[in-house]
C-alpha cells in the first residue's frame, strides 16, 4: 500500500536472496508456487498450504437478480468462486496491531468514551451510595419502631386481659348464680380465652384504633359505655354456657342479647372500616398513653365481644372483611393498568403519522390518504375487499388499520370503508 504493490518480481528477489538461489530460479519457483495452487484447485477444488491458508472453490447456486439498468429480472447462473481462509497463525500475525482488543459486554446506551468515564464515576457513586444507605437506615428504623411497638402492646394486652378477667369472673360467678356443673363452665371459659388471643393476633390493631375512636368521638364513647353495661351480661354468658348458643338464649334476657348483638355488629363494622382506613393510610400511629386505664377496660370489652362473637357467630369477621375490602383502593388501581396494556400494544402496531392517519408499523407501505370509499355488502370481509382493491388478502391490515377496525373478519353489512391510498415506504 504505502510502498507500492508487492509484485511477484519482488517476491522472487527476496526469495533468491534468502535461499541463495539465482533470480531466475527464484522467479520460476515463485511462479510455479502459484500455478500449482491453481492446478490443485482445479484438481481437488481445495488447496491447503501450511502457514498461508486454504484456497477453496465454492459453488454458488443460481440466483435471481434485477438488471440494474433495465429493471428486468435476470438469472445469475450458478458458478464456482475462489475463497481463501487464512491460516490461524497468519491471521493472528496480520491482526497483531489490534490483538490486545477484547470483546466487551455493553450495558444500555454506552459509547466508547463513556466507558472510561463510567469507571471513574462508578467508584465515586459507590462511595456515595454507601453514605446514603448509612444515612437512610437510621431514619427508617425510628419510623418502624413506633409501628412495631403498638402492635406488640396491643397483642400482649388483649392476650393478658381476657385471660385474667374471663377466667376469674367465671370462676366467681358460677358459684354464686349458676346451678350448672362447674366442669362445663370450666371448660367453656378455657376455650374462650384461647379464641380471644387468636382474635387478638389476627387483628392486632383493633385496640389501638378503638382508643383513638373513643378519644375523638363522643358517640362512640357512648357505644363503648353501652358495651360496658352489657359486659356484665357477657360475663354471665361466659360463665353460664359458652358452647351452646341456644341454651344461652334461653337463659339470657332477649333485650340484653339483642343489644349486645347490635353493639357487636356495629363495633365490628366500625373496626373493619377503621382497620381498612389505617391499613391504607397506615403510617399514622398515635399512641395515647394518658387514657390507658379507660382503654384497658375497653380492650377487655373488646375481647369479650370478640370471644362472644367468635363463639356465637362467624359473621362478624366476614363483615369486617367486607368492610375492609371497599376501603382498599390499591387493587382497584392495579386493575386499571392491566386494562390499559392491551390497548397500548395495539397502538404499537398501529402508529399514527403526523397527519393523524394510522399506519401499519412494520408494513412496506404508508397510508397517504383515501383512494375511495366502499360500502360493505353481504358475505364480504375486509380481506376480500383488500384482495379486490389492494391486490392481496394480506393487505387487509391496511384497510382495517385505516378504518380502525378491530376484527377484519367481522364487518357488518353497510359499513362504509375507506380504501387507503398506499405509498411504498422510503428507506
Amino acid at each position: 500500500m504505502k510502498e507500492g504493490k508487492f509484485m511477484i518480481q519482488d517476491l522472487a528477489d527476496v526469495l533468491s536472496q534468502r535461499k541463495n538461489i539465482s533470480a531466475e530460479k527464484a522467479r520460476d519457483v515463485a511462479r510455479m508456487f502459484f500455478d500449482t495452487i491453481l492446478a490443485g484447485l482445479e484438481k481437488d477444488r481445495f488447496v491447503k498450504i501450511k502457514g498461508l491458508g486454504t484456497f477453496k472453490l465454492v459453488s454458488v447456486d443460481n440466483r435471481e437478480s434485477v438488471d440494474v439498468n433495465s429493471g428486468e429480472r435476470i438469472v445469475i447462473e450458478g458458478h464456482s468462486k475462489v475463497s481463501f481462509t487464512p491460516d490461524n497463525a497468519l491471521k493472528e500475525a496480520v491482526n497483531r496491531p489490534f490483538a490486545h482488543f477484547e470483546t466487551v459486554v455493553l450495558n444500555d446506551e454506552v459509547t466508547d468514551e463513556q466507558l472510561e468515564q463510567v469507571d471513574k464515576r462508578f467508584a465515586a457513586e459507590q462511595e456515595q451510595a454507601n453514605e446514603v444507605v448509612s444515612k437512610v437506615i437510621p431514619e427508617v428504623i425510628p419510623e418502624e419502631k413506633p409501628i412495631e411497638e403498638p402492635i406488640e402492646e396491643s397483642i400482649e394486652k388483649p392476650v393478658e386481659t381476657p385471660v385474667e378477667t374471663v377466667i376469674k369472673t367465671p370462676a366467681e360467678t358460677p358459684a354464686e348464680t349458676v346451678t350448672e356443673t362447674p366442669i362445663e363452665t370450666a371448660e367453656a371459659p378455657v376455650e374462650k380465652p384461647e379464641e380471644a388471643p387468636k382474635a387478638a393476633a389476627e387483628e392486632p390493631v383493633i385496640p389501638v384504633v378503638v382508643q383513638q375512636e373513643t378519644q375523638m368521638d363522643g358517640q362512640k364513647v357512648l357505644l363503648v359505655k353501652l358495651v360496658d353495661t352489657v359486659q356484665v351480661d357477657v360475663n354471665k354468658n361466659a360463665t353460664n354456657l359458652m358452647e351452646n348458643n341456644e341454651i344461652n338464649n334461653n337463659i339470657k334476657s332477649g333485650k340484653s342479647r339483642t343489644a349486645l348483638w347490635i353493639v357487636c355488629v356495629v363495633m365490628a363494622l366500625l373496626l373493619g372500616y377503621i382497620l381498612g382506613y389505617f391499613r391504607v393510610f397506615g403510617s399514622s400511629v398515635n399512641k395515647p398513653t394518658v387514657v390507658k386505664d379507660t382503654v384497658y377496660i375497653e380492650k377487655k370489652q373488646e375481647k369479650k365481644a370478640n370471644a362472644d362473637t367468635l363463639a356465637a357467630v362467624q359473621e362478624v369477621p366476614a363483615a369486617e372483611v367486607k368492610a375492609q375490602e371497599p376501603a382498599k383502593p390499591q387493587p382497584v388501581v392495579e386493575e386499571k393498568p392491566v386494562e390499559k396494556k392491551p390497548v397500548e400494544k395495539k397502538t404499537q402496531i398501529e402508529e399514527t403519522n403526523d397527519s393523524g392517519i394510522p399506519q401499519v408499523k412494520y408494513g412496506a407501505y404508508n397510508i397517504v390518504g383515501t383512494q375511495e370509499t366502499y360500502t360493505v355488502k353481504k358475505g364480504e370481509t375486509v380481506r376480500i375487499i383488500a384482495e379486490r382493491y389492494l391486490g392481496a388478502r394480506d393487505m387487509a391490515i391496511y384497510i382495517s388499520t385505516y378504518n380502525r377496525i378491530k376484527n377484519p373478519d367481522l364487518v357488518s353489512v353497510g359499513t362504509v370503508l375507506k380504501i387507503p391510498k398506499l405509498e411504498v415506504k422510503k428507506k
Partner: protein, 90 residues
C-alpha cells in the same frame, strides 16, 4: 489437496526435491506473511491479490443472552482472485 500433496506437485513442476520444494514453499509463505504484516498488499499477476483490510469495531447482540457486545476492530487478510482466475473457475 493438502500441504503434502502441494509440496509434491511443486517439486515435480519445478524439478526440485520434495525437501527443497518444502523449503521454497515455506520461504515464499514467510515472505508473503512479512509483507502483509508490514501493511503492504501483495499482488500476484495471473493469480490474485492479498490485501489486509481493517474491519471496524461493531456492536453485536447475542441471540441467546440478548447482551450487547462491542467487538473490537481487527485486521483481516483477504484474497481477491484475478479476473482471469475467476473466469477460469466459473
Amino acid at each position: 489437496m493438502n500441504n503434502k500433496d502441494f509440496i509434491a506437485e511443486l517439486a515435480k513442476a519445478s524439478n526440485l526435491t520434495a525437501k527443497e520444494a518444502s523449503e521454497m514453499s515455506e520461504g515464499i509463505v514467510q515472505i508473503l506473511a512479512e509483507q502483509l504484516c508490514n501493511d503492504s498488499d501483495v499482488n500476484i499477476q495471473s493469480f490474485g491479490s492479498f490485501e489486509v483490510k481493517k474491519k471496524n469495531e461493531r456492536v453485536v447482540v447475542s441471540p441467546i443472552t440478548r447482551q450487547r457486545m462491542l467487538v473490537p476492530p481487527k485486521l483481516t487478510l483477504s484474497f481477491k482472485p484475478n479476473a482471469a482466475i475467476k473466469d477460469k473457475f466459473k
